[in-house]
């Protein structure tokens, strides 16, 4: 032997892996993780987009929490932003202004955090649509589905609390509306509102601490835990897959995590980071210095919640004006319908969807194969109708801006939307079902033609 042998690549890597395995017995787990099989369709990556947005939220949020002061103590501003000089505001708002103007990279982190929240919920919504339209929520994945829905609900709450903590004019108006909605719970609304706010609006100073602790600690912890369980369930049951090319209910065909899928997923992760930080630096979001601080007696035209609560403002605006009273007592104040019943109904419908489908179709089998949307015309049609319904309500929420921009009378728009929320979903249902049925029929025709041609060729060969 001349000198020592050159270390081979696999031996070099084997050393630390073996060292770790001796101290944790995790090599089989690592092997399973490396060779975990991912299905081949791009739509399976939408959930990952949400996950990566969550990572950005936690990272940027931690940074922001190191600067933000959740205090309602009234202060007078004398900082570097001239137009607010001498203005009365809360310490919370001032710390947010300070972060935006006087902390290097502070505004970048704040804006990235806010964009990440908007994109997080949008990604979950897209992912949910993929799940529903392909029937991925069916047995054995109902548990995964329920957890995902819970994450969505918590994300909405988390976002609302997050932008309300800053105490600017727009979010302050939104908090007042939240208070009005809490009050509208029949019988116990005032008690619930008093509990959460620590008294009548604007509440005790402790309310701000509550928002802060909920937003920075309690909700992220719960969401992260639920994401963990969600991912565990996804991996332990393995992904679903689309039909075709040898995929069956028993056998999953796809790409292993390493080396095939990992660079793609990691690439997507960095692409999400890139998109969010680019938006955070280049596109202004929630310029709180332009809105000014919130005061109970102030209001601005055109105030809107963040996009994922637009369905609620639409519902609140569409309701005709009445409180339901009983023997001189107010049983159902008006905001209840749009603020409580409506979102409860929508989430309730989503939660019940797997059970309803099982009940109606009688299908209790395990499904690892997905439907294309056209393969389940009734489900696709119903989901399309629900989405259309929600979309009209969203649009109704910004009818006033539509008036300012396009000149369509607000009152007329409201009347029209009140009709459309009944008519358009029905039309969408019918249309979606027809499209699915026609596409399926076309596939039958094509297949019959191909079969006939094959037969004819075979017959010709025999002759």
């Amino acid at each position: 032997m001349v000198g020592r042998a050159k270390p081979q690549g696999v031996d070099v890597i084997e050393k630390p892996v073996r060292a770790l395995d001796e101290r944790s017995h995790t090599a089989p787990l690592a092997l399973r993780a490396l060779r975990y099989v991912f299905p081949d369709h791009w739509s399976f990556l939408l959930g990952e987009v949400a996950l990566y947005a969550f990572i950005v939220l936690v990272a940027t949020g931690t940074y922001l929490a190191l600067f933000f002061d959740p205090s309602t103590a009234p202060v007078v501003y004398h900082g570097s932003y001239g137009p607010l000089d001498g203005a009365h505001m809360s310490q919370a708002y001032r710390s947010a202004i300070h972060l935006s103007f006087d902390v290097k990279a502070g505004l970048l982190m704040r804006q990235t955090h806010h964009w990440a929240a908007d994109v997080f919920v949008a990604a979950i919504a897209l992912h949910l649509m993929r799940i529903v339209f392909t029937g991925a929520f069916r047995k054995p994945r109902e548990l995964t589905y329920y957890i995902g829905l819970t994450i969505l609900g918590l994300a909405l709450l988390e976002g609302y609390i997050g932008y309300s903590m800053v105490d600017d004019l727009l979010s302050g108006m939104g908090l007042a509306i939240g208070y009005g909605v809490a009050l509208s719970i029949p019988l116990i609304g005032a008690n619930v509102a008093a509990l959460i706010w620590g008294g009548p609006f604007p509440g005790a100073p402790a309310f701000w601490s509550r928002m802060y602790v909920a937003h920075v600690f309690m909700l992220p912890l719960v969401i992260a835990a639920l994401i963990g369980i969600h991912l565990f369930l996804v991996s332990s049951l393995h992904h679903t897959q689309f039909r075709g090319r040898g995929a069956t209910e028993k056998r999953l065909r796809g790409v292993p995590a390493f080396p095939g899928q990992a660079p793609r997923s990691l690439g997507l992760m960095f692409a999400v980071f890139a998109a969010l930080f680019l938006l955070g630096g280049l596109v202004q979001i929630n310029p709180i210095w332009l809105w000014g601080p919130y005061h109970v007696a102030d209001g601005t035209n055109g105030a809107q919640p963040d996009w994922y609560l637009g369905w609620l403002i639409g519902a609140l605006r569409l309701m005709p004006g009445f409180d339901i009273t009983v023997a001189g007592r107010t049983l159902v104040p008006n905001p209840f319908w749009g603020g409580i019943l409506f979102p409860t109904f929508v989430f309730g419908l989503l939660f019940l969807w797997p059970s309803l489908e099982r009940l109606i179709s009688g299908d209790r089998r395990t499904h690892n194969l997905l439907d294309r949307p056209r393969d389940a015309p009734w489900r696709t049609a119903f989901a399309t109708a629900v989405l259309t319904w929600l979309f009209v309500i969203f649009v109704a929420g910004s009818a006033d801006r539509a008036y300012v921009l396009l000149g369509w009378s607000y009152q007329t728009q409201i009347e029209v939307y009140r009709v459309l929320i009944f008519v358009l979903p029905v039309a969408a249902f019918w249309l979606a079902r027809r499209i699915c049925v026609e596409l399926l029929r076309n596939e039958d025709v094509v297949r019959d033609r191909e079969d006939a041609e094959t037969e004819a060729r075979a017959a010709a060969q025999l002759d």
Partner: protein
């Protein structure tokens, strides 16, 4: 004799020129007020009296005769509104109004500078009213204006003066308004806008409000592309149609396909 006469004529001509030159010197505006008012009266009779009545008396019930588009004139009295009001409505193009039932909006200015001055002089002569204001935004403070604007104006005009909605009317964005027009509108309260007297908003307060509106047209946008300063609706559209589209595109590229 002829030489002396010619000289006298020349002197008279020169004197007349000097006198008219002297009266013209203070501003390029000085027509004799009487002739300006007379022109104003004529313009008024032709363009305004169908709604505002003869001599600016106003019409509370529609006139007997209908004009173009079958519209019968109806309009408030102009007695005591002063030069301030006439100057505002004419320079913004709010008046003449096509139909008395539509909201006046900023539009084409039909009259020339001289005609406007003539009409203003005429309307000012109908009773005693406020003169055209001379605001000085530089003497005001943007910070004080921000607070005042939020309290009194943002409810209709939106906190960044981007304009807004109230039942059956638009509160317009204020970026095209000149300081004088803002001052005039605040004192008049045109159409459905409330008015703010000097007891509520002193001239100094008004200077601050105007300074703020000027700032709001070009505010600190250090966060990047401002999306019109109207808040979460365009932000949501960007989240879906830029971030959403880009990221779905990346998943399409990053995802693999079984062959």
């Amino acid at each position: 004799m002829p030489v002396t006469g010619r000289a006298a004529l020349a002197m008279l001509a020169a004197a007349t020129l000097a006198v008219s030159g002297a009266t013209a010197a203070p501003a390029a505006t000085s027509e004799p007020p009487d002739s300006l008012r007379a022109l104003g009266a004529q313009l008024y009779a032709a363009n305004c009296s169908s709604c505002h009545g003869i001599g600016g008396a106003g019409k509370r019930t529609p006139g007997q005769v209908s004009g173009a588009l079958g519209i019968a004139g109806i309009g408030p009295s102009l007695h005591g509104v002063g030069a301030l009001a006439a100057d505002f409505y004419l320079r913004t193009g709010y008046m003449p109004l096509r139909s008395p039932f539509t909201q006046p909006r900023r539009s084409r200015v039909l009259f020339s500078e001289r005609e406007i001055r003539a009409l203003v002089a005429y309307v000012a002569s109908l009773g005693t009213g406020p003169a055209v204001p001379r605001p000085d935004p530089a003497a005001g403070s943007v910070a004080a204006g921000f607070t005042l604007f939020t309290q009194d104006c943002a409810g209709c005009h939106q906190v960044a003066a981007a304009g807004g909605y109230l039942p059956d009317s638009v509160a317009p964005p204020l970026y095209d308004a000149t300081p004088t027009q803002i001052a005039e509108a605040v004192r008049i309260g045109p159409n459905v806008m409330p008015r703010f007297s000097k007891k509520r908003l002193s001239d100094r307060d008004l200077d601050s409000v105007i300074a703020y509106v000027g700032y709001a047209g070009r505010p600190d946008d250090r966060g990047g592309w401002s999306l019109g300063h109207v808040g979460p609706v365009p932000e949501g559209l960007i989240a879906w149609f830029i971030a959403g589209v880009v990221l779905v595109g990346v998943t399409l590229t990053a995802g693999s396909r079984l062959r």
